[in-house]
């Protein structure tokens, strides 16, 4: 019996990893223990790919969003897209600086082809197109006015990360980690405990460098920053995060915002949306918004000062002493 226990314990230490690509990002899914981990990780990846390619992608011709943007109208047979729009819209009520119609900004600033600075008239037109009143839902029919284009850029990675975590939880694995680009979901137990150490990327280093770590359990973490996706014109740097009120790329003393939300339903989508919203709002208004949702935040400024909310501070470890930390 002792040997059987040993063997079970041994097999339960197994870790399976699955890599893939979705939502314009790299995806990794790690599963701990309980056999068939590889198959369960693959099933979770399939769920991410399904949501991306059939529902929310604005670049894949198979998706509902693509069809809506192309035709200006979409009949949502199973209601999945409408229910997702409604989930995002509830968050938008608290942060009108982000919009689901940001496609107008991406187009005006020509982000997909390297970026360019548009004229004031083009920016004003983009702001009008990005107004949420251009998105109408009647029954199961969605319509877009004028040049409005639906995009889940500020939400999608969090949403698919959450869907993969849900799929793994339903398949009864002992624990897991899902990463979709910079969004991370953790739940259950790893090979040692239910605490997962997650690095917070050094905005001034490469993608494997982190300036601090946080230890979390059953949580979603998302980061928005201006350090990777940007373009330069006449020596000026323009990031890819737009304030929907002005149509301009955000200019701020902040370089990255990490938001940590609980692992309950909606936590993934919320962490993704809040990181973008707080990046646009700035520290004071941003932290006010985070408190409303009970989210924890790590804000990194361009001068390497870091603000950490008090709820996460005792789980926060600075590993690069060039940064200075304040608690709020």
């Amino acid at each position: 019996m002792c040997i059987t226990v040993l063997l079970i314990n041994y097999s339960d230490k197994e870790t399976s990893v699955q890599y893939g690509f979705a939502c314009g990002s790299d995806v990794s899914i790690t599963v701990f223990g309980t056999g068939k981990g590889g198959e369960k990780a693959k099933a979770a990846l399939n769920e991410i790919e399904r949501i991306d390619s059939s529902l929310i992608s604005d670049t894949k011709s198979t998706s509902a969003v693509y069809a809506l943007n192309k035709n200006g109208v979409y009949v949502d047979g199973n209601g999945e897209l409408i229910s997702y729009i409604n989930e995002c819209s509830r968050i938008l009520e608290d942060c009108p600086q982000i919009t689901l119609l940001s496609g107008a900004f991406t187009k005006a600033w020509n982000i997909d082809a390297g970026g360019r600075v548009p004229s004031d008239g083009e920016i004003a037109e983009a702001v009008r197109s990005a107004d949420m009143n251009n998105l109408n839902i009647e029954g199961n029919k969605i319509t877009l006015n004028g040049n409005a284009k639906l995009s889940f850029g500020a939400f999608g990675k969090g949403t698919v990360c959450e869907a993969a975590v849900k799929s793994l939880k339903e398949s009864k694995v002992r624990g897991g980690i899902v990463t979709v680009g910079g969004t991370v979901g953790v739940f259950g137990e790893n090979d040692k405990s239910n605490l997962f150490t997650v690095g917070v990327r050094d905005p001034f280093g490469n993608s494997n460098e982190y300036f601090a770590t946080v230890s979390v359990k059953d949580a979603f973490l998302s980061t928005s920053g201006d350090y990777e996706k940007y373009f330069e014109s006449d020596g000026k740097r323009y990031c890819h995060i737009f304030d929907s009120n002005t149509g301009m790329p955000v200019e701020s003393d902040i370089t990255s915002v990490t938001v940590i939300c609980g692992g309950n339903n909606g936590g993934g989508t919320l962490s993704d949306a809040l990181s973008t919203a707080i990046f646009i709002l700035g520290e004071d208004e941003g932290l006010f918004l985070a408190r409303k949702y009970g989210a924890e935040v790590i804000i990194v400024k361009k001068d390497k000062t870091v603000t950490v909310t008090d709820g996460i501070y005792s789980y926060f470890t600075l590993v690069n002493d060039e940064f200075r930390v304040a608690v709020k």
Partner: protein
């Protein structure tokens, strides 16, 4: 008087030893000594990081170079070069990915002192 060690005891001890040896033999390879190249999530090639000589392979527009215990994406046909900028991977669990070309490279295993994931 009872014998202190019976034949049955010996057999049990031998079985435990045999199982221990078996477990030792099938234990996972040392963390951090191999890197795997994935194309669209499927394993394409596993590289031995302990090899002295330089290994270079090109797949789907991405050139992966393995040298001196580390691995990196040295060149890519992609536009943004985030994969190249990920730099050299040397610790178990580190990963570099080229999203446009759907190629990823990861060092297998997990470094004891490294985080499980990085947000950013």
């Amino acid at each position: 008087m009872k014998k202190s060690v019976t034949a049955l005891d010996l057999i049990i001890i031998l079985i435990i030893l045999a199982v221990s040896l078996l477990l030792f033999a099938v234990r996972p390879k040392n963390s951090g000594t191999t890197a795997t190249v994935y194309v669209d999530g499927e394993i394409y090639r596993t590289l031995d990081l302990t090899e002295k000589s330089r290994t270079e392979l090109t797949v789907s527009g991405v050139t992966v170079v393995c040298e001196n215990g580390g691995v990196c994406i040295e060149k890519s046909t992609c536009h943004n070069k985030f994969c190249v900028n990920a730099g050299r991977l040397t610790k178990a669990g580190q990963c570099a990915a080229c999203v446009p070309n759907k190629v990823s490279v990861a060092i297998n295993g997990k470094d004891e002192n490294s985080p499980w994931a990085v947000t950013g």
